[in-house]
Amino acid sequence: MADLSINFAGIKSPNPFWLASAPPTNSGAQVHRAFEYGWGGAVWKTIGAPVLNVSNRYGAWHYGGQKMLAINNVELISDRPLEINLREIRDVKRNWPNRAVIVSAMVESTPEAWRDIILKIEDTGADGIELNYGCPHGMSERGMGSAVGQVPKYCEQITRWVMDVAKIPVIVKLTPNVSSVVPPAHAAIAAGANALSLINTINSIVAVDLDTLEITPNIGGKGGHGGYAGPAVKPIALNMLSSLGVDEVVRKSGVPISGMGGISTWKDAAEFLLLGATSLQVCTAVMHYGFRIIEDLCDGLSSWMDSKGFKTIGDVVGKSLHRISDFKDFDLSFRAVARIDPEKCIRCNLCYVACNDTAHQCIDLVDAAGNRVEPYRYDLRSNGKHQAVSTRPQPVVREEDCVGCRLCHNVCPVDGCIEMVELPSGRPSITWDQLTKARPEVGTDWEAMKWYREEVGIDIH
């Protein structure tokens, strides 16, 4: 059995799964129940400045019958009185000494306001503080949340105020609503933050109602951008996480990163760990299915770690980061082609139409006699399942023309039916960077590119 426990900047937790600062951690009763289910930690819903909330605050994006691929919200920070939150935090921590209780905070941008809230949080016995520099709606209009996270200078200033006071670990939570998360991360590190977390939610408008023409969700006839989260944002979060993981300043600082953004299953969790997260925060999946999902998050992760020989979470963290690369360093001579397994193929022809209409026209439909046939060419007088099935052609990749784009593999509904097979290209490895250093003209002049292609035998048609 793998050891799932973590020590995150001094915050200990029996497993890496924390509830993110969000509606699931709105009250002591909720966090207490979550801990009973086995959550390793919880980041309390942000406390701080007084707020009022509105109805219809959660929107969602559904697709193809799948509910809530993403959620969008305009809920603000905790609207419960500060004193009640502080009392419940204290109670929970006293009852659950071995779980991580982190308190998210957001107040007016003054040293006094931050000093005051930090002292109050520390007084509860909480294990850590998360500075909410990410909330993209409402609070940002009041100069808090993402209004701070989007400006590295503010980020650094406020973090300094906090670090001057704080005795427990401080995590700076970053907003994804920036062109790069690296500068705000540098600012937080420069100010002495103990850890980083990302991503907060992404600016979004989730839908427009086609009957009423109102924005969805409709808040008294109005609507606006809200924070977007859930399975659909996972690839964005992974990219931002890895951008910190490969950054020299972040690496040298040694600050751990708490990863979040669409983690729904242990597989997602493992990917976040592999790209450099040490702790993992979950929100939308819990808002969809409840606290019970912690069981498979731990069980699945543990089984996977056992199967891979990873003994501790530390063994996994950042294991795939060295593979993150820029395009200029990819091997231009790497060659893969798609291969369709006719035994597994159900002949839906989705690969055919995708390749033929939108990719590189290298899949043929081949009949039983081995002849290439066009689609929709059956005799209109033929019908019935036997004729339809027995005369149905098989999609076959013309490997010599396949550029290995992988679209067919992606659209194929059958697992393992279309595999990308690595084939020797017959050319020595070379990256774009190496090529253009040796022959800069290839990157600026199509004639030079043509000569280069002819020289090494790259045929594009």
Binding site: G65, N349, Q387, A388
Partner: protein, 443 residues
């Protein structure tokens, strides 16, 4: 004794799909390209297209997609042997459950009929007149397609109600009468005139038809259930009339307590279903061959077994046994399968000395239908008794076309085949009558 309410026991077997069910099922469809379901459908409805329109909540567009290829889409959604056609060809069939194409088609077509939405308009008038003889699915389809192309069409129907076997011959369990009538009304709203209780050779002469119209489409179907040629046959009820009564006058029907249905085709199955559901204690289907040769579809066979109907295979009726003018039993002889006959099936032969009597108080026969009489009336060339047509559905009389069960010399008769005949014949008639716009219709 339990009171049987026909409107309950014979009501449509499958409930309509809810919006949610339809969306979930539509989203399960992979949206195959050049899909096998479309090939398998005799009318080649673009099935992935209509299903994805349900998924995108464009249900009117979905119904239009269906009806573009098959004007009787609401009937076909219910009566098509989908296991043998579209659903049987679904690529998900091998490892998963095939998409419920029939039920989705019903969802989309019911949507427009329930809301009175017309998805087609009559075409600009061509000034050409076409007569359609027989208002079954083939005739209505041909009429509707011609009306869409701007021709003036009159349909002559000998019965009181139009839509042929959809109206009279398919039990309510599979298709309520209202569905068949909604299709008739839709065709009428395309400008087609439907004249009922008009029969060629009786109150309509061939001369009138020839003189009044530029082309004729014969969609007369087939005749009554043929005679068995056994003593006491006058006591045997006609299966099609039995089914008809269950639709039009179920309360007035007299159902036996111990009913024998002779035959093992889909009509026999329907007749047995009516008998069982309307209160017969025991229903036995008698067939001279075995379950391997029976013409009822496998899913119909398993359905009727679940209804509790019994089977006597390799059994041939030889005489109706009556007492005091009432049916008391059916004398039968056991059969053995011999050499293959013209239909390719082993020919049953009587086993000497094996006669026995099956007690019963009602006997219904459903052993096919008589060949069309109109062929003889008009002197048309025939093939095995069916009207002979060329690739354009034209008979041996120029300008006279035919389709539906009356030409079905090969293959099994079904609504969907009749619809395809009617559609193809309409396009052929259109090509002949309005050659300048012919190409547009030929798709």
């Amino acid at each position: 004794m339990q009171i049987i309410k026909p409107e309950e026991v014979l009501s449509e077997y499958y409930p309509p799909m809810s919006n949610h069910e339809a969306l979930v099922e539509a989203n399960r469809c992979l949206y195959c390209y050049d899909a096998p379901c479309t090939h398998a459908c005799p009318t080649h409805i673009d099935i992935p297209k209509f299903i994805k329109k349900i998924a995108s909540e464009n249900v009117v567009g979905s119904a239009r997609t269906i009806l573009e290829s098959n004007l009787m889409g609401a009937t076909c959604a219910r009566v098509c042997p989908v296991q043998e056609l579209c659903e049987g060809a679904c690529v998900l069939g091998s490892e998963h459950k095939p998409i419920a194409i029939g039920r989705l088609q019903r969802y989309a077509t019911d949507y427009v009929y329930e809301r009175g939405i017309d998805v087609f308009k009559p075409g600009p008038p061509t000034g050409k007149k076409v007569a359609v003889i027989g208002a079954g699915p083939a005739g209505l389809t041909c009429a509707g397609e011609l009306a869409k192309l701007g021709h003036s069409v009159t349909v002559f129907e000998k019965r009181e109600l139009a839509n042929g076997l959809s109206t009279y011959g398919i039990i309510v369990l599979r298709e309520p009468l209202e569905v068949a009538q909604a299709e008739v009304e839709m065709i009428q709203r395309l400008g087609v005139t439907v004249e009922t209780q008009v029969e060629l050779g009786k109150n309509l002469s061939w001369e009138e038809v020839k003189a009044g119209f530029d082309a004729v489409f014969l969609s007369v179907g087939l005749g009554a259930v043929p005679a068995l040629g056994i003593p006491g046959e006058e006591h045997i009820l006609d299966g099609l009339e039995y089914i008809e009564a269950s639709k039009l006058d179920p309360h007035g029907m007299k159902i036996g307590n111990n009913v024998i249905v002779i035959g093992a085709g889909n009509t026999a199955v329907d007749a047995a279903t009516v008998a069982k559901r309307l209160g017969a204690e025991r229903v036995t289907m008698v067939y001279r061959r075995t379950d391997r040769e029976m013409t009822a579809y496998p899913h119909e066979y398993s359905f009727i077994k679940n209804e509790g109907v019994e089977f006597r295979f390799l059994t041939q009726p030889v005489e109706v046994v009556s007492e005091g003018g009432k049916v008391a039993g059916l004398r039968c002889v056991r059969m053995a399968l011999g050499a293959r006959d013209a239909s390719g099936r082993p020919s049953p032969e009587p086993v000497a000395g094996s006669e026995f009597v099956l007690p019963c108080d009602q006997i219904v026969k459903a052993i096919g239908q008589e060949k069309p009489l109109v062929a003889k009336l008009l002197g048309l060339e025939t093939e095995k008794g069916f009207i002979k047509v060329n690739d354009d559905f034209e008979t041996s009389l120029p300008g006279v076309y035919a389709g539906g069960d009356c030409i079905r010399a090969k293959g099994s008769a079904s609504t969907v085949m009749a619809v395809q005949d009617g559609k193809m014949a309409a396009f052929a008639i259109h090509r002949k009558l309005a050659p300048s716009v012919g190409a547009a219709a030929d798709d």
